[in-house]
């Protein structure tokens, strides 16, 4: 071992000076490998964090989540919970050592000058004993601040404390106004504490005792994904036993409630906390990994080609070494030394690129993928990088030393140089080219599908007017509830706000609606027919008579809602989207039909609105929606049409609102154009990154094909020199060699076509959504790949046939 290391040390110093003499080769290998390793390390880390790494909590593997599952009208679903059901478990469960409720909700930080929108976790005290965070300042929520104690205290996250409270070390004991309530700050979590991911995939800013959540804790029919739990099962209780006990408990109360009908049932499902957090993201991560492995294969093929050329260059040196008694394994070490130096440099640069990749992922995908904040250069990443670097160095050295014909090396020592100690067979060369082309074409075909899907979302017309329309969302004032009186009062307030907004000089028209026309996420509500039979659950909005006019969303049949001047609302009409009307009344007789959202509330269809497109919802269900007359059930929302080019700002509107009610606060003011831009941002990014990836694989493939053919032409240089010396015209030789060179290119393309079909069939079974394949788009890849391959083939041939034949014959 000692002698091996000493020999390796010697070879490393030899390799170092040799590589400095071939900067082009060294730079190409390092550039190719570093970019590829950067991407690989980044995606490996993502997969490691999502699929392997434990959550950063003590006893992380024992932490579970209990979800409610329901069967209503023959349909089963889970993931949304009712507050009464969760409270039932919290108070009565016997299966957990500790069990905590968690409710995610967003509120404004009212006493901050910018009134930022904060994510709050309303929790019971067990949350902290289960997750055991280290505290930077103060303490966590105590047992004495548990359920029904109404202690207005708050724990800040370290990042929130830094960002919004200027790292005030005297913060403990001070008060802060969140929403409409003033809370006493009792603690700041440690910097490293990462709360479990929530539906927003955002880190919570505050933890507040459960008592201050705004859920309806009495109605079994209101379900939300924002309500969750964390628990640790008692020793000896299996998840199956716990599910059975909790399910039975829930079912008993649920079927006795108003929300259930005959045949409806409820149950419980225990899922590990890690599985809940990771969810479907593991599939995305694995898809990304497969893409990066494809890229790696192309890069490895390329670099192998470059090393083969390098071995050809080195054959004289290797011949001398062999003549002096170097054994094949010692020649391998000689090749290994070079590949190791290059791989290590590429690995170091790859780590740097991966570091940027982590920042990029955090910026771009934190909303879509969980645990992104945990990505970083850690021991696992370093070990993986070390392993892959040594592995790749070994692969390159092995492949290039394998093609060295040890016995034929001696011919190199003859001064004529006619012999060659390096013999890569034609079959191997053709295989390398075909593999290169097959992988690159496959990646390009995949990229074309991704780009096309992204472009479809980016360029799809919305079907409504987004220009000069803003959406204003205002928090419901403190004390508003869902009683009849309160709703009438709130309706009156929205009418007043609307009327005040219309007085602004830049405002042309205002409509009330409970949510923006397009937004991230989904809100749907069940719809029954007149016989109270469920017809489905669809996206919905509550709007007033101006809504369709402002958005220039035409009604294809019927009419809009009447103008409500009386704040006493009445909901007895419904407008359907065109596609939903087609679904519910295929005969085209939807107008006049009656549907219900509650048994006592018949809704008569009075109009059919044209469909509009929601970016990202590319299936038919994206167009299914219905509209109800406006009522102030949720925060207040307004669609505001302004004069051309005018802007609406928080500063402009807030004084106007405060004049009406000092408790009013603005949550959002955003133009529909901006909202649209935000929604398609991810798709633009996907298209951009995919184009870069596609170009990269195209360039890599071109470099690889060039590498093999350049080597191949070098091998035939003597022969080509003879052809030229005998009077062959250059175009004749070019055609002869090009024909041979393009043959493996065509084979590669054929292989990629077969592989594409196989992968498509596999992926189609794995994915829950439909992939639309545009054959024309995919076929576009063929001429691009052919053009690139043609150029890569032509360059080395041109160099060989335009030189003086004597040079080839003399091996100069």
């Amino acid at each position: 071992m000692n002698s091996f290391l000493r020999h390796l040390k010697f070879e490393l110093s030899l390799a170092k000076s040799a590589l400095l003499k071939v900067p082009g080769f060294s730079a190409t290998v390092i550039a190719t490998l570093s970019v590829t390793l950067g991407a690989l390390i980044c995606i490996f880390s993502l997969n490691h964090v999502l699929l392997v790494k434990s959550l950063p909590y003590t006893n992380a593997e024992q932490l579970v989540v209990v979800q409610q599952s329901y069967t209503e009208g023959g349909e089963s679903w889970s993931g949304s919970q009712s507050a009464p059901g969760m409270l039932l478990w919290y108070k009565n469960q016997q299966v957990f050592d500790e069990f905590s409720l968690v409710f995610d909700h967003k509120e404004l930080v009212a006493d901050h000058p910018d009134q930022p929108n904060a994510l709050i976790n309303f929790v019971t005290p067990e949350y902290f004993s289960l997750l055991t965070p280290q505290m930077h300042l103060g303490r966590v929520i105590k047992e004495s601040e548990g359920l029904d104690t109404h202690q207005a205290v708050v724990v800040l996250s370290y990042q929130t404390w830094q960002k919004w409270y200027q790292s005030d070390t005297n913060i403990i004991g001070r008060k802060t106004m969140i929403g409409h309530i003033s809370y006493k700050v009792i603690g700041v979590t440690g910097e490293s504490f990462m709360a479990p991911e929530n539906r927003y995939n955002e880190a919570p800013n505050f933890w507040i005792p459960w008592d201050y959540q705004s859920l309806d804790i009495t109605h079994w029919g209101i379900m939300t994904r924002a309500l969750n739990s964390i628990g640790k099962l008692k020793a000896g209780i299996s998840p199956r036993q716990a599910s059975a006990q909790l399910g039975a408990m829930l079912n008993e109360k649920f079927i006795a409630s108003d929300a259930s009908e005959d045949g409806d049932t409820a149950g419980a499902k225990i899922v590990s906390l890690k599985d809940v957090i990771v969810g479907d993201s593991s599939r995305v991560a694995l898809l990304l990994l497969s893409g990066v492995i494809g890229l790696l294969l192309i890069a490895v093929t390329n670099v192998t080609n470059l090393f083969l050329s390098r071995a050809a260059q080195k054959q004289r040196t290797m011949a001398i070494q062999a003549a002096l008694g170097a054994k094949p394994n010692q020649l391998f070490i000689s090749m290994f030394a070079e590949s190791l130096i290059l791989s290590v440099v590429a690995g170091a640069l790859g780590l740097l690129i991966a570091g940027w990749g982590f920042v990029l992922l955090d910026e771009l995908a934190a909303q879509q993928l969980p645990r992104i904040s945990e990505l970083g250069i850690d021991n696992t990443t370093l070990m993986f990088t070390g392993f892959i670097v040594i592995f790749l160095a070994g692969v390159f050295a092995k492949l290039s030393s394998r093609v060295v014909n040890y016995d034929a090396l001696q011919a190199q020592l003859q001064s004529s140089g006619k012999g060659s100690g390096l013999q890569v067979s034609k079959r191997v060369r053709h295989f390398l080219i075909a593999m290169q082309v097959a992988l690159a074409t496959l990646l390009l075909a995949g990229a074309s599908v991704v780009i096309e899907q992204a472009l479809e979302t980016i360029l799809h017309p919305l079907g409504f007017n987004e220009e000069d329309v803003f959406y204003l969302r205002v928090d419901r004032p403190k004390g508003a509830n869902y009683s009849q009186e309160s709703l009438v009062e709130m309706n009156l307030l929205t009418l007043t706000i609307k009327s005040e907004l219309e007085k602004l000089p830049q405002v042309e028209k205002v409509s009330r609606s409970i949510r923006p026309v397009i937004f991230k996420g989904n809100n749907s509500m069940g719809l029954n027919d007149r016989n109270d039979k469920r017809v489905g659950s669809f996206a919905f909005n509550m709007v007033d008579h101006n809504y369709f006019d402002i958005l220039e969303l035409p009604l294809v049949q019927g009419k809009t809602f009447i103008e409500q001047k009386d704040p006493r609302y009445s909901i007895n009409e419904i407008i359907l989207s065109e596609s939903l009307a087609q679904e519910l009344a295929p005969a085209g007789d939807a107008i006049g039909k009656v549907f219900k959202i509650q048994p006592t509330q018949p809704l008569k269809v009075i109009g059919i609105a044209k469909d509009y497109y929601r970016p990202g919802m590319n299936n038919e269900y994206g167009y299914h929606r219905y509209y109800l007359p406006y009522a102030a059930f949720e925060d207040f929302g307004f669609d505001i049409k302004v004069t051309e080019g005018a802007q609406l700002t928080r500063e402009l509107i807030l004084p106007l609102l405060l004049k009406l009610n000092s408790k009013l606060r603005i949550r959002t003011v955003i133009s529909h154009t901006q909202q649209h831009a935000d929604l398609i941002y991810k798709h633009k990014l996907t298209a951009g990154l995919t184009i870069v990836l596609g170009l990269l694989s195209l360039l890599l493939a071109a470099a690889g094909i060039y590498g093999v053919l350049n080597y191949s032409t070098q091998m035939r240089r003597y022969e080509l020199g003879i052809h030229l010396a005998l009077g062959a015209k250059t175009h004749r030789i070019k055609n002869m060699v090009m024909k041979e060179s393009l043959y493996p290119v065509l084979i590669g393309m054929l292989c990629s076509a077969v592989l594409s079909v196989i992968i498509f069939l596999i992926v189609r079974q794995q994915l829950s959504f439909v992939i639309n394949i545009n054959i024309v788009g995919m076929l576009m890849v063929v001429p691009i790949m052919l053009a690139v391959a043609y150029i890569a083939c032509y360059i080395p041939i041109k160099a060989a046939i335009t030189e003086d034949p004597i040079k080839a014959l003399r091996n100069e």
């Binding site: 002096l324 170097a326 054994k327 010692q330």
Partner: protein, 265 residues
């Protein structure tokens, strides 16, 4: 200085070589392609004695280089037997042949075949670095310096080959051939890439080495240099057509001395 001007300054009476260190029996080598078989060697019988100095000459294509390649275990014979120090090395594995080359054979090539990336010291040290078990660095250093001193090049240790003249490079190549204390030094057209002055000096050096006990086998086209060997083999169509020896040889001590003095400057 031309060939004609070489003047023997010292004559040394060689002792009669006794011990056979290399023996070839009916050695043949056939190069085959799909349609043609070329018989490069047709049954060579050769014995090389300790402290021999053999020159091999003959017209192009007579098999000189093939014979040297077989002698150096750079190639395998088609048939026949080959012994080094009594050990049959005709059909050894690649690794075993490499080891024999490393332990028993020193090479000097027409084109020097030094590695440009390595210093003079490292070029000379190369055969020792392939020794198994590995030699200690201090031992390698000692051997390399001794070997370089023999060719009067120890002052050029840190230079790279491309900083040296052709004659100097060939002397470095000789030092490399000697460093492993081989049984035999195989020399392939050692003056082919040199002018006559450097050629003479290299030949003088080889003669001196032989006089000090090194066994040498040299391929050369030059009849005057061939004449400097103790035994002269003439190859024709793959066979040893003629063998004759003088029993005496000359060392151009003056040429060697002059060249060493120039290099020292």
């Amino acid at each position: 200085m031309t060939h004609e001007n070489v003047t023997p300054m010292t004559s040394i009476k060689a002792e009669a070589p006794q011990k056979v260190i290399i023996e070839m029996k009916s050695l043949t080598k056939v190069f085959s392609t799909e349609s043609i078989e070329t018989h490069a060697l047709r049954g060579v019988n050769l014995a090389i004695y300790n402290q021999d100095y053999i020159s091999i000459s003959g017209p192009s294509g007579c098999g000189k280089s093939t014979l040297l390649s077989l002698l150096g275990l750079l190639d395998t014979p088609t048939s026949g037997q080959y012994f080094i120090d009594g050990q049959d090395v005709s059909n050894l594995s690649i690794n075993d042949r490499a080891e024999i080359r490393n332990q028993h054979i020193g090479f000097v090539f027409q084109a020097f075949n030094l590695i440009d990336e390595l210093s003079v010291f490292d070029n000379v040290a190369l055969p020792l670095r392939y020794r198994e078990p590995a030699m200690l660095e201090k031992d390698i250093k000692k051997e390399v310096l001794t070997s370089l001193e023999k060719v009067a090049m120890s002052h050029r240790c840190d230079h790279k080959p491309n900083q040296l003249s052709g004659g100097q490079q060939q002397r470095i190549a000789i030092a490399r051939g000697l460093v492993g204390k081989p049984t035999i030094l195989l020399v392939d057209e050692p003056t082919g890439n040199l002018d006559s002055k450097n050629g003479d000096a290299v030949m003088a050096m080889l003669a001196k080495l032989n006089s000090e006990g090194m066994t040498i086998c040299m391929v050369t086209h030059d009849p005057r240099y061939a004449d400097m060997a103790k035994r002269k083999l003439h190859l024709l169509d793959g066979l040893i057509a003629d063998e004759y020896g003088t029993g005496e040889y000359s060392v151009d001590a003056l040429a060697l001395e002059k060249l060493s003095a120039q290099e020292a400057k």
